[in-house]
């Protein structure tokens, strides 16, 4: 009575297996869409870094986090980025495709680094093992997660350097199949990770060794998804703010004042003029908006350049790397001239913003020109400006360096700028024992608990 049933129940709609590199596109797309979502990178990144502000619906800006964002970031990065990159690694191993495997490891490392920077201790050793029946993985301390990230990036560098295998140019939404650029990304990302933990661990030897490998050498190496001209594959800023007509995201008063202070040509790129034809930022926070003081009309919006549907969705830029190297040199972690790195970082940022002239004059002015005595503040401020469209990284680097100096938002519910995301509530039901252990180890599950590298 069950003749032919097994054949009938074979799915005609979906493949049983795929080439490893076919997974690359969806991993990159999911990662970028989450990172640059106006609710993540905007509300709980850029407004916390005080680059952006809002003239309505600004609870998050006042440190009332949106729980669904906390939840979706955790879910998306684990389920759609790390899990798929792990599948990609397993498939690539079976294929003997070292390049694809190296890319898979790089993407996993990126995912873990984002999550641990946002949440602190997270599952890593036991994570992504649902097929083995592990549905409630233990959390690892952040130092362990960082060890694992660094090891993955080292393996990625070695695997890609070996040159066995290849990538599908079409599905590589970042580099179009150029393995050498992936190698540069892996190594540059490792430098970011090493700098992140430089306050709690001596990273100088590892850093010096990594700098010697291929790393970003220009904006052409930037790790960024190439977004398309139309939704749903356009940059999330465009999709929400422009296409979705949600104009409440504006530029902050601090950004406008800072850029105006340097006559920075990037102001006209980053900010739009208000209804009066001026650049006018809004102080961060303020409970009852819009108001006659701060509303849709009289506060400058996000500049047109950044609402371009094809704005690159940046994972890591050459400019950021230069600022990190400047800091590493200034701190004597690596050899090299901090000023050179610093100036290269500003030039790269200007170039990213489409500015080609007047950069030399800009670099020489007081408040910008490099001085060893004020290196932390100078590098921090310029890096902050360069991260205008990378809210999460801007906030995270502020947490690490305290640069530029920021005061908590007005009418905020906390007296300090958040130090992390709280864990998603779902972990308390699906993974309670592990969650409880993590909270016991790391500290209360609140926005103000500092992560390991921030201590």
């Amino acid at each position: 009575c069950d003749k032919g049933f097994e054949e009938l129940n074979q799915d005609p709609n979906n493949p049983t297996t795929v080439p490893s590199d076919l997974l690359t596109a969806d991993i990159i797309r999911n990662a970028a869409n989450n990172l640059h979502s106006t609710f993540v990178g905007g509300d709980m990144g850029s407004t916390w870094a005080q680059l952006w502000t809002k003239v309505q619906y600004n609870d998050e800006e006042r440190y009332v986090p949106r729980q669904s964002v906390i939840e979706s970031t955790w879910d998306n990065i684990y389920e759609d980025v790390i899990s798929d990159a792990r599948s990609m690694e397993i498939l690539a191993t079976a294929e003997g495709n070292d390049v694809s495997k190296g890319v898979a490891l790089t993407l996993q490392a990126w995912g873990y680094s984002l999550l641990t920077d946002l949440y602190g201790d997270i599952p890593n050793t036991e994570a992504i093992r649902g097929t083995e029946g592990i549905f409630a993985p233990a959390y690892d301390e952040q130092s362990v997660v960082y060890d694992s990230i660094l090891a993955k990036l080292d393996r990625a560098n070695a695997l890609i350097a070996g040159g066995n295998g290849s990538l599908n140019a079409a599905t590589d939404l970042m580099y179009g199949g150029d393995a050498s650029k992936w190698r540069k990304f892996a190594n540059s990302l490792k430098i970011r990770c090493l700098m992140r933990i430089s306050g709690v661990r001596d990273v100088s030897a590892d850093l010096q060794a990594t700098v010697a490998r291929p790393i970003f050498t220009s904006n052409a190496d930037n790790a960024a998804i190439v977004y398309l001209a139309a939704q749903p594959n356009a940059h999330p800023f465009y999709e929400t703010i422009d296409y979705g007509s949600r104009l409440e995201w504006k530029v902050s008063e601090l950004l406008v004042q800072t850029l105006e202070g340097f006559s920075d040509p990037r102001l006209a790129v980053m900010a739009a003029k208000n209804a009066d034809g001026n650049y006018r930022g809004k102080p961060n926070g303020i409970q009852d908006v819009p108001s006659e003081d701060f509303n849709y009309e009289n506060v400058s919006g996000i500049g047109e350049f950044y609402l371009n549907p094809e704005l690159p969705g940046m994972f890591m830029s050459y400019a950021e790397l230069q600022f990190l190297l400047a800091e590493a040199a200034a701190s004597n972690y690596i050899s090299g001239d901090a000023a050179t790195f610093y100036n290269a970082g500003i030039r790269a940022s200007m170039e990213e913003n489409g500015i080609t002239s007047g950069v030399d004059a800009y670099l020489s002015q007081s408040g910008v020109a490099y001085s060893a005595g004020a290196s932390a503040e100078l590098i921090g401020t310029q890096k902050w400006i360069s991260l205008f469209a990378q809210g999460v990284e801007a906030w995270t680097e502020w947490r690490r360096t305290g640069q530029p100096a920021l005061s908590p938002a007005l009418d905020a519910v906390l007296s300090q700028i958040p130090s992390r995301y709280s864990y998603p509530a779902s972990e308390q039901t699906t993974n309670k024992a592990s969650y409880d252990a993590a909270v016991a180890s790391q500290g209360a599950d609140v926005l103000t608990t500092k992560v390991w590298w921030d201590n």
Partner: protein, 1036 residues
Amino acid sequence: QRTVSGTVTSAEDGSGIPGVNVVLKGTTTGTTSDLDGNYRLSVPEEGGTLVFSFVGLEPKEVEIGARSVIDVGMSSDVQQLTEVVVTALGIERQEKSLTYAVQDVKGDGLTQARETNIVNSLSGQVAGVQVTSSSGTPGASSRVVLRGASTISGSNQPLFVVDGVPIDNSNYGTAGNGGGYDLPNGAASLNPDDVESISVLKGPVAAALYGNRGANGVILVTTKTGKGKKGLGVSVNSSTMFQTPLRLQDFQNSYGQGASNTYFEFVNGQSGYGDGVDESWGAPLDVGLEFVQWSDYRDDGTTSSPSPWKSYPNNIKDFYETGVQLSNNVAIAGSDGDNAFRLSATNMNQTGMVPNTDFNRWNINSSASLRLLEGLEASFSANYIKEHADNLASIGYTNDNPVQQMIWSGRNVDLAALKDYKNLPLSPEGTAAAGTPLNWNTVFQNNPYWGQDVNLQGYDKDRLIGNVKLAYQFNDWLSAYVRTGIDNWDMRNSNIKAIGTNSAADGFYSDQVRRFTEINHFYMITANKTFGDFGVAVSFGGNNMIQEYTRHYVGVPALELPGLYNVSNLKSGSTPTLINTLEEEKINSLLGTAQLSFRDFVFLDISGRNDWWSVLPKADNSYFYPSASLSFVLTDMLDIYSNALPYLKVRAGWSKVGSSGGLNPYSLQQLYSFRTTPYGSVSLAYNPETLNNPNIKPETTTGIEIGLAAKFFDGRISLDATYYDQTSEDLIVQVEVSPTSGYESAYDNVGLIENKGIELQLGATIVDTKDFSAGLNVNFATYNNDVISVNNIDGDEGAIVLGGQWNVDLQAREGHPYGVLFGPGYLKDEDGNIVHVNGRPQIDPTYRVLGDIQPDWTGGIAVNLRYKGLSLSSLFDAKWGGDIYTMTTTWGRYAGVLAETLKGREEGIVGKGVMQSGTDTDGNPIYVPNNIVVTAETYNKAAFSNGVAEGSVFDASYIKLRQVTLNWKLPSQWFTNVPFKDVNIALVGRNLALLYSKVPHIDPESGFSNADSQQGQEFGQLPSARSMGFNINFKL
């Protein structure tokens, strides 16, 4: 030998009754009456008694004496014990022999009600049946559940079977939180004019023969045939119904749009910084103020002088139109005794209360039976159904739903002035509505009349439900039949959004075709024999089911040219969404049933069915579903029959049935998948987030039921009571796992739900004379539903999310009834007082159960009065207990549009509750009564928002006047010289009045659609309809 002849007529109307058995008592000599009720029989010269009998009529014995002509009038059996009820697999049983709960509804009740969705006509009629109609819009779905929820991942609605053939009752709408549209549920295709009767098999005992499709009970629909008709008959039924909203929100009319109580201005096509404030916390209306408003905006971008700031109390009421529903049916039926046929054509045409919404349905029904040879009968029935809508209404939280902008609105807006949108200026560049006709708000909303006219959800469905049956009667005790039945439909939906639509700035078009086919082959052999005091009826047979479902979807997210809705009109650079799915499954079954009776007062039923299901793992795809039930007719058995208690039966049964839950084909193996929207030209392969389970099993429901049926006082009062206790286990659950495992969920058989309850039906004939009768029918059911387990994590109050909107989930949560509303509530002190800070109610960061959707009981009371040809019937129904989360209240209060937001507009509000005054020595907070005055706006926005749901969860209990019909059967003598006869005129009212409700602003009987996940929640619900009209039917 001599001959006796005569006519058997109905005592009620004098018409001849065909098919009456006429037997000479004590012999095998007998005959049956012909089509006109005439009979002729040879009898002995002397003495003798004739016995006249017919199912449903009181048997009659007449001594022949010396007569040669004996005319007999037969009347309905007052005890109704011989009434025939359709049971599982279409087996007809006398009610007396039933061993489980079955309740039926006659077709004439359905045609009178004139409900377009046949499911609605069950509301209040059958004990234990819960019906929820989603709204009063044309094509709206309705949900029916018997005895509460028994599955978590699958549908809780019963299997619908038409003339022995299972039919699809799915709803493929995309209703809900994010907007979308509801579609008619599958059973809504059925035409009430073609239904002879509906039989409700409420529980697993009655439905045991349906095996793994029986866990939710079964609704058996029998369509009309020509059998039993005399000659050729034509009947015509025409009805006209008018629909108006039963209930609209109660709006305030004292304050207009904006956030400033002194100022408003509409400039540059927007209302200044206030345009982000599509709310009514603005300046007072009707006090002589004047502001520049939307209606003062001119084509050239300038504005004319300010206009009076005044209220439009009926602006929303006037938005709705009177819905019209026309239904016309013509049926021809005939029989010559051996062969019979029926042909019926019906058109139902409906226009909605929301402008430019409609729904049309054509039903062509045909059936015939032919006696090919002695004992060999061939029959078929075919229902062709065509459904069409130019535009079904948008629903849910979307600016495509016109009701949304009534809730986010300026109360100063003259909606009617927006209607002539073709002569309005266009919204200027820089606004979201740029290029589309002006609206009072151009940032969040489009002109609602324009939206209704240009943004269309088209719908078409073509369906054939039919079967062919060949039956052979070998002899007087052995028969067999084979039957093949099919339910086949094609459905097309298109969705148009014009360029400039708020939810799709570049326009949108999608076209989707679904096809579904289910074919069932049945074969059965039945033996029916009496051995002395014992009766045996045994059937054995099989069923092969094959189901195929395909779906093709093309969606274009942006249009190149305006006004052209074709997938080729894809905007350059954008990417279409492409979906194409094929699913196939089979179930092979063997089944058997036996009923043993002793002296017609003890009945034992046993049955078994074995199903082999293709979706299950090869090694474990065979499941057996048994049942056993027993009844005793105590009045006969103990010989205690009396006029006061002519009938008393007790019954008990046990059964195990199954359910597929949410298990679909291809759920065993882990596969990769492609996103349906590629990245430009790049395909997106991914690893799905749900982990399949190669060892999955079907769900099982095991239940007992006990009951009694009694009649009192010559059968004038009847009572039927049932108690049931059912356990549904191995429920297939997508167990939520930590995403850190790489998966969001994993399939497992871990759910367990218990259902217990009581069902009562009481019928009373209070007066019954030739000219006047009065009767009463009462039904009542209680429910006790308990979700015992949804996952396998010990000590955790596990929960599975069924659906939800904003941050409120509808969940199956352990230790609670199925369908709890789980979300953020107010922060409270130990005594339950709401904690305020700076005068604002605080939100408890820990989400909790705020209510549940399960009623405590449901009931209905039908009162039927007749005086001569005039009959009046009314039906009241009630649902008691259960909650609803109404975001209409949330946003309506947040936005200051509802009447209750007038409180404290001038003087402010002191929230009822406490505030912290300090801390005690242990560091615990000390609370004192809150005394901080805040503005009404501040209070309402703190107390009602998407951040806190508790204030918008209400007890959904209601009592409704469901139906009133006044039917006049015109005296037959008026029609002696015209071709008409049996003329009835009826005035009909449905959903007439909400007599009791604790929910403000909306009909508590609301849900987004008939899907389980969409119950107990609403936002911007299109109102339910109060339907009134008339119905005329006559025969030719």
